[in-house]
């Protein structure tokens, strides 16, 4: 009832603070600003920079401040933006706090921190905010999507593609039911397992690339250091030595010149994988090119890491001082660059220059630590079209839909052949961060590209989804809708008060929450259309299980049933619960409104999608108004249900002989049938099928 995204709702009892808005607490504003200066960004109801702080200065209630503190804390932990509201609760001093949540547990913790911080600020006590934020951040890293996956999910959201997390990890479903695709960081459900196996076998990958004319470094598998040396002499020094199956650059040694170096490299490499490759060392910079589908999306260039001696510090210390002090470097995925460590490769690299980690280089002496330390400098726009063509082909011949291609070239803006450039590796499930957050250069729209790849032009991420709400008729209407879908050969899911069924097969009648049953309906990849019933109480407690639907039906609003224990005590509040079913209708969907309901006009007023009104009374004022506006409407004329556009009759269905209406027709049943017909009409079900449906439908209770 608050918004489309997931939120956490908390009840806060502020007790005696009710009498102390922020302006009445001496020094509070100053302390607040000092502790969290970034709150100035919060615009709040003034819709301006510093808007929130102005409210604090003028005086606002603690829960409102908590709302902003919570959002700010989440922001500090890495979840930016989001929805927040503070509202009066049922009794004096009790408020509802609603905050957008990246994950339940995170927001819960953030709210508690916000409370403690607020109290500390009010009472002018010290508070160790930093350690709390760190804890929150850690929790977020554990529970929330990683930055790569987030970028894809974000791009999906921008395209109107809904997402559902399927695991605690980064497995995410994009789209609903049969229209869904899955992603797991930079893998999609189109990513072939065989292709991944091939990409891990460097020798096979190279032979496939070579077969289709993609340049690769000459080389071969060796079984001993001596053999490696012989091959190295054959193909010409310098060479690279690497394990056949390794990944992430482990055990890869480049630019080896001497038998001694080759020996040392072989010894390390053979522990990493099943075989050792000797390859010609390609002179140039390492590049990482990201291919998605048939397109090159991004390219990043690697750079050598070196330190400059000062005659005082050891190389190890210099690395900390000169390289790792860079704020872009950090241990987690959020940083574009990793900290530099002296690993086995760096040891060799130093050794070839006559150093160890403990050596103290002379002042101004340059020491190379990693040849291609970090690939994070965006060069996407420089890539020569023929290079792009080659890397796309490389991904294709391996069979990967998303691939990170490692390419060594002196100049990426020139064709590969003329500079002896080569592709050295093809990686499945490539990291995206270096393209999303390059250390230098323009971030590339990688998430958008992946979403575009999964849902190309003309491929929807949604299935027909009919949402039904109404205390009396909702269940029957949902059944009729599902019946129509079944008759037109949809594999349909139905979630209503009787339970959950797939294609008419009941799978769960136990009393799970409405939300859970509906959620399961859209999770199932076999489901081609879904009908999900919601009750006002369900919407209140857990919200709807989907973000948007194609048809939203409200059969009637029960104006008597309040939920005082949830602070829903008047008709307006009740209305704001029900209207949720209309609010979630897609812009090209259809809201179905019962014109005979006293609140119908209010629903029409809030509908942002096209709507259809229905009534058993063709003189109903709303029907008249709708018809005059040339809108679709459904009315009863004798024993006919009549579909109209404006006043023009579009189609009539006979209710005669239909078992559902036997022995007597009553107005409720007619309206229910009308609502279901409206949904079927909007879903594009042929009238002949609907006709059959009307004649043969029996509600479940009666059928059994």
């Amino acid at each position: 009832m608050w918004c489309w995204t997931e939120v956490l709702e908390a009840l806060v009892d502020i007790g005696e603070l009710e009498d102390y808005p922020s302006n009445k607490i001496p020094g509070f504003y100053e302390r607040l600003v000092k502790t969290l200066p970034s709150l100035v960004e919060h615009r709040c109801s003034y819709e301006e920079h510093g808007g929130f702080l102005r409210r604090v200065e003028e005086g606002t209630w603690p829960v409102h401040i908590m709302e902003h503190l919570t959002l700010e804390l989440q922001g500090l932990a890495g979840y930016h933006g989001g929805f927040g509201r503070a509202r009066d609760g049922a009794s004096v001093g009790v408020y509802k706090l609603i905050v957008a949540t990246p994950h339940e547990a995170v927001t819960q913790k953030a709210i508690y921190i916000a409370r403690d911080l607020l109290l500390a600020l009010i009472q002018d006590r010290p508070y160790d905010l930093d350690s709390q934020v760190d804890e929150l951040k850690e929790l977020m890293d554990d529970l929330c999507l990683g930055p790569s996956t987030s970028s894809i999910v974000q791009a999906a959201a921008e395209k109107g593609v809904p997402h559902i997390r399927l695991s605690k990890g980064n497995l995410v479903q994009l789209g609903y039911g049969a229209a869904q695709k899955r992603i797991w960081t930079a893998e999609t459900d189109k990513t072939s397992a065989i292709a991944e196996t091939i990409s891990r076998d460097k020798d096979l990958t190279k032979s496939l690339l070579a077969a289709v004319g993609v340049p690769t470094p000459q080389g071969q598998l060796v079984d001993s250091a001596q053999h490696a040396w012989e091959i190295a002499q054959d193909i010409g020094l310098p060479v690279v030595i690497k394990p056949q199956d390794g990944n992430h650059g482990r055990g890869v040694f480049t630019n080896l010149q001497t038998q001694h170096e080759i020996q040392a490299a072989f010894d390390v490499a053979q522990h990493e994988g099943s075989g050792v490759l000797v390859e010609k060392f390609i002179v140039g910079d390492e590049h990482r090119l990201l291919v998605v589908g048939d397109r090159l999306i991004a390219a990043a260039k690697g750079e050598a890491c070196q330190v400059c001696g000062d005659g005082v510090h050891t190389i190890d210390e210099l690395i900390q001082l000169q390289i790792n002090s860079d704020p872009r470097r950090g241990p987690t995925e959020d940083f574009p660059l990793n900290p530099v460590r002296i690993d086995s490769m760096a040891v060799l690299e130093l050794k070839s220059q006559g150093f160890t980690a403990e050596s103290v280089p002379k002042k101004d002496q340059e020491v190379l630590v990693q040849r291609n330390g970090n690939v994070a400098f965006d060069v996407t726009e420089l890539v020569h079209p023929s290079v792009a063509k080659k890397v796309v082909l490389a991904a294709k011949v391996v069979g990967l839909d998303i691939a990170g291609i490692d390419l060594v070239a002196r100049d990426i803006s020139r064709p590969m052949e003329e500079q002896g450039a080569a592709i050295v590796e093809v990686n499945a499930g490539p990291g995206l961060l270096m393209h999303i957050k390059p250390a230098n250069g323009k971030p590339q729209p990688v998430g958008q590209a992946i979403v575009e790849h999964l849902f190309p032009q003309g491929h929807t991420s949604r299935i027909p989804l009919i949402g039904v709400c109404g205390p009396l008729g909702g269940t029957v209407v949902s059944e009729i809708c599902a019946y129509f879908l079944k008759l037109s050969n949809y594999y349909a899911a139905l979630s209503n008060h009787h339970g959950l069924s797939f294609n008419q097969r009941v799978v769960d009648i136990s009393h799970h929450s409405e939300w859970e049953l509906g959620h399961r309906a859209i999770l199932n990849p076999m489901v081609e259309a879904a009908v999900i019933e919601a009750s006002a109480y369900g919407i209140l407690m857990e919200g709807l299980p989907y973000d948007r639907c194609s048809v939203g039906i409200i059969t009637e609003i029960d104006r008597q049933q309040f939920f005082p224990e949830q602070s829903i005590t008047d008709e307006r509040q009740l209305f704001s619960l029900y209207r949720t079913q209309i609010d979630v209708v897609l812009n090209d969907g259809l809201a179905v409104i019962n014109a005979d309901d006293p609140l119908a006009q209010d629903l029409i007023d809030v509908a942002s999608s096209p709507y259809l009104v229905l009534s058993i009374d063709q003189d109903n004022a709303l029907i008249q108004a709708s018809a005059q506006n040339g809108l679709r409407n459904i009315i009863q004329i004798n024993d006919q249900i009549v579909l109209r556009t404006g006043f023009d009759i579009y189609h009539s269905f006979s209710m005669k002989d239909a078992e559902f209406f036997a022995p007597h027709t009553n107005s409720e049943k007619v309206r229910w049938m009308m609502a279901a017909i409206a949904a079927a009409w909007a879903t594009g079900i042929p009238f002949a099928t609907i006709d059959t449906g009307i004649q043969t439908f029996m509600p479940e209770e009666l059928a059994n």
Partner: protein
């Protein structure tokens, strides 16, 4: 006896369609008839009594040692179960030399068999000992190592039956089906569409269970708990008997099944805690283990799996019972038998120890002793096919499970009492979902019917009769191959295909050269057929590759033979005569698919002879409707293409299907250049055979010119200060003859020619070239080739000079060292309205040089 050379023929070849080893064997005079060798045959039969051997050779010649080798190579392979039958030994013209050809199913096995046969026969000859059992053991071991495993093998077999081409990409089980843009891959029971994410999901058992449950598939639902109280709480919620087990346990350690009371739960929890802090409490499901195989959206096989077990007879110990069971011949050591021997190892001992039994215990009569908790075939379990018994609802549950996880080939493990009832009715459920499931238990169950699972997988990958093939045109012949290949490629590209082309200039995909050098062999063909962006392939298929390795494809849709003429490269590789050469080139005609076409030159008698070896139809092209071969073919109602004055005519029988004016074909210079008219007819016939429409063909022909970019070295015309300069790569008598004819039709004041000879041709072939030229040209420049191909310095020039003796027209002859210098010299001598034919050797360099220095 001497083994001079061994080759692996990896595709259809001169001898057969089978893959084969080909050995050149030299036999000493006394070895040319084994009847003359005392005791040899007796020795041979003593060592290898299983050997079948004929008395005489194929053509009634005496049986030589080479024939014996042939039979032994075949016999050894047959003994270890390789499906091979074809072998030949051919005596060539050189005295004592035999070509031995023996089919293989795996190259390394074939090579080892040859090696072993050589040693075996030598042992028989020189009366050394030879252990044939050991040799067979070696061969059998290698065969088992390198041949496809049973799962992959069954899929490949099914593909072969569906006429889908396949190619192994590794020593392992990675196989490509189909070609070019239509290819797909498998690796054991994974396809290229098997999703990596789905595999990851299947590996996460808890996630899998959650997903299956959400789709309404019965699973042993449970929860992860951390305290005994929680465990009891969950046990009560589940309300049935339960299982308690450590989350990350293995081999059944710390697992308690079928428990119910609070006391049991708490005890079991305490035990499980020894193996990990996270404990799973889940519903206990009694029943038997079943494995259901889902392929696509169908259940294709189901098997009941029983763990290895013995049943007491009241007398024997467990060890004796196991021994008795292992006597069953169905039980073997590897994967080739339907059952594997039961092992009494530590796991078995631990399993029976739980029941207080030892291997010396004597179970009472009828007592069932389970020796292991898993039913894997490889550890002695058995599988019983129950495919026909599966209840449709249960099958639907298995399919939903596969779909929910996202696997296209999926092994669903189910525990339930009865496979013929829905799961829900009996409290059964899906316990696990497996990616890349083993197929052996369905292909070769211990009991019951074998299920055609390979066919189901192939059917999913290639539905409705698709074969994964792309149109393949093979082109061979003595002259005109490259132009024909380029023209066909041009026409197919015009049709919208992305075309992969191999030729003596390199491999081209979509007009981009991806490899250079002579790419007319099988390796290049295979590379094109593996390229994922190729919709059609046009493959120049030269003699060398066919002899060396066979074809790079199993069948083609169209085979084009431009001509044989007087041949080229004669005398190499035991190809002595033009008949031999025709035989080699006819290999592509022999391997035209049954619904394909051979495009043959009606004017070349040796080409016409190939008609009878073609499985498909033949399209003849020829100089006129009245040419005897053409008119006969027309009379038989078949397809022909011929020249009718200034038109080319395509006819089926007497009916003219289409007519193309030669004025619309710039390549032929309005029909003036005879050999280009032939190439054009061949290309039209090939594309017509692929059902390319006439409009596309006509437009394509209009846009094709023979310039240095589209057909380098093929009659490229330059202008130089009023003279015409023609560069061509022609290097044999037929090519020269065609060039003489073509240039004669162009009027000129004086005629110049620049020529070198390729050293690897026969003397007479070199002489004959200048003999022809001397009658048509006024000035001749002879230059020495950069590479002499095995000739002495000056030797080739001398031969060229000899050819010029007594010719009618030539008035001036010069000898030059170096190609560029020869070109310079010729151009300097040119006057307006002269004509100069330059027979270039280093094609690219010379053409680049010519475009640079000629001044129109």
């Amino acid at each position: 006896m001497e083994l001079q050379r061994v080759r692996a023929l990896r595709g259809p070849n001169l001898w057969s369609r089978h893959t084969a080893v080909e050995a050149i064997v030299y036999c000493e005079p006394e070895e040319r008839s084994i009847k003359e060798l005392v005791d040899f045959e007796i020795q041979l039969r003593t060592i290898f009594p299983q050997l079948h051997i004929r008395n005489v050779g194929l053509n009634g010649e005496p049986l030589a040692m080479a024939h014996v080798i042939e039979h032994v190579v075949l016999g050894l392979q047959a003994q270890v179960g390789c499906p091979v039958t074809f072998s030949r030994t051919i005596k060539v013209n050189t005295e004592g030399i035999y070509q031995v050809v023996v089919e293989y199913s795996e190259e390394s096995v074939g090579r080892l068999a040859l090696d072993l046969a050589w040693r075996l026969v030598s042992a028989a000859r020189f009366k050394h000992p030879f252990d044939v059992e050991d040799a067979l053991q070696q061969l059998s071991q290698l065969d088992e190592d390198v041949r496809l495993g049973p799962s992959t093998g069954s899929i490949v077999q099914a593909a072969v039956e569906r006429n889908i081409p396949y190619r192994r990409l590794t020593q392992g089980s990675l196989v490509q089906f189909g070609w070019g843009s239509k290819q797909q891959r498998i690796q054991a029971a994974e396809t290229s569409r098997t999703s990596a994410i789905a595999e990851s999901i299947a590996q996460d058992k808890e996630l899998t269970k959650e997903l299956l449950h959400s789709a309404g598939v019965a699973v042993p639902l449970g929860k992860v708990v951390e305290t005994a109280d929680e465990a009891w709480q969950v046990a009560q919620e589940l309300g049935s008997t339960i299982v308690i087990k450590p989350r990350d346990g293995n081999q059944g350690k710390g697992v308690a099944v079928n428990i119910r009371s609070e006391e049991q739960v708490r005890t079991a929890f305490a035990v499980a805690q020894h193996y990990g802090s996270k404990i799973i409490v889940e519903r206990y499901m009694p029943g038997q283990d079943f494995r259901l195989l889902v392929v696509g959206d169908r259940l294709v096989a189901a098997a009941r799996r029983d763990p290895p077990q013995v049943i007491g007879d009241g007398r024997s110990t467990i060890a004796e019972l196991v021994e008795a069971i292992n006597l069953d011949p169905l039980r073997g050591d590897g994967h080739s038998t339907p059952l594997t021997k039961i092992r009494l190892d530590d796991i078995a001992l631990a399993t029976i120890a739980k029941k207080n039994l030892e291997i010396t215990s004597v179970p009472i009569k009828g007592e069932r002793v389970v020796l292991r908790n898993n039913a894997n075939l490889s550890t002695g379990g058995s599988a019983t096919d129950v495919t026909d018994d599966v209840h449709p609802d249960l099958a639907a549950s298995a399919v939903t499970a596969a779909k929910m996880v996202g696997l296209d080939i999926c092994g669903v493990d189910i525990v339930c009492d009865a496979i013929y009832k829905p799961l829900e009715e009996q409290g059964g459920g899906v316990v696990e979902v497996n990616a890349a499931p083993g197929l052996r238990m369905h292909l070769n169950p211990s009991y019951g019917k074998s299920q055609p699972v390979g066919h189901a997988i192939v059917q999913m990958m290639f539905p409705h009769g698709q074969t994964g093939r792309i149109p393949v045109v093979a082109v061979s012949g003595t002259n005109g191959k490259t132009t024909t290949v380029r023209l066909i490629t041009h026409l197919l590209r015009h049709h919208g295909y992305r075309v992969g082309m191999t030729s003596t200039d390199g491999i081209y995909v979509e007009n981009e050269r991806i490899d250079s050098g002579d790419c007319s062999g099988p390796k290049s063909a295979r590379n094109v057929l593996m390229h994922p962006e190729v919709d059609a392939a046009v493959l120049e298929t030269a003699r060398g590759g066919i002899l060396r390795e066979g074809l790079g494809f199993d069948a083609c849709d169209v085979a084009v033979i431009t001509n044989i003429g007087e041949g080229d490269h004669l005398g190499m590789n035991y190809v002595e005569t033009i008949e031999d050469l025709a035989l080699v080139k006819s290999v592509i005609v022999k391997n035209v698919s049954a619904n394909g076409f051979a495009v043959l030159n009606a004017a070349d008698p040796l080409v016409v002879k190939m008609e009878k070896s073609c499985r498909g139809q033949v399209v003849y092209f020829g100089p006129s409707a009245n040419h005897p071969v053409i008119s006969k073919h027309k009379a038989q109602g078949k397809r022909t293409i011929y020249r009718d004055k200034d038109d080319l005519v395509a006819a089926i029988g007497q009916r003219v299907v289409h007519r193309i004016s030669l004025s619309q074909v710039p390549l032929t210079q309005g029909g003036q250049i005879g050999f280009q008219v032939e190439n054009t007819m061949a290309a039209i016939a090939a594309t017509w055979s692929l059902e390319i429409d006439w409009q596309t063909i006509e437009h394509g022909l209009q846009g094709f010119v023979s310039d240095i970019s589209s057909a380098p070295g093929r009659f490229n015309i330059f202008r130089h200060q009023g003279a015409i300069v023609i560069a061509d790569y022609g290097h044999n008598v037929d090519a020269i003859r065609a060039l003489v004819k073509a240039t004669e039709s162009i009027p000129a004041k004086r005629r110049h020619v620049v020529i070198s000879g390729a050293g690897d041709r026969r003397d007479e072939d070199i002489r004959n070239q200048t003999k022809l030229l001397g009658d048509a040209f006024d000035c001749v420049i002879l230059y020495q080739d950069q590479c002499q191909r095995g000739r002495q310095d000056g030797e080739v020039i001398a031969l060229l000079q000899e050819g010029l003796h007594g010719t009618k027209k030539v008035s001036k002859v010069q000898e030059i060292h170096g190609e560029f210098l020869a070109i310079d010299t010729a151009l300097q001598a040119l006057e307006p309205d002269d004509l100069c034919l330059i027979l270039i050797d280093q094609v690219e360099e010379s053409l680049a040089y010519l475009s640079q220095i000629t001044k129109p």
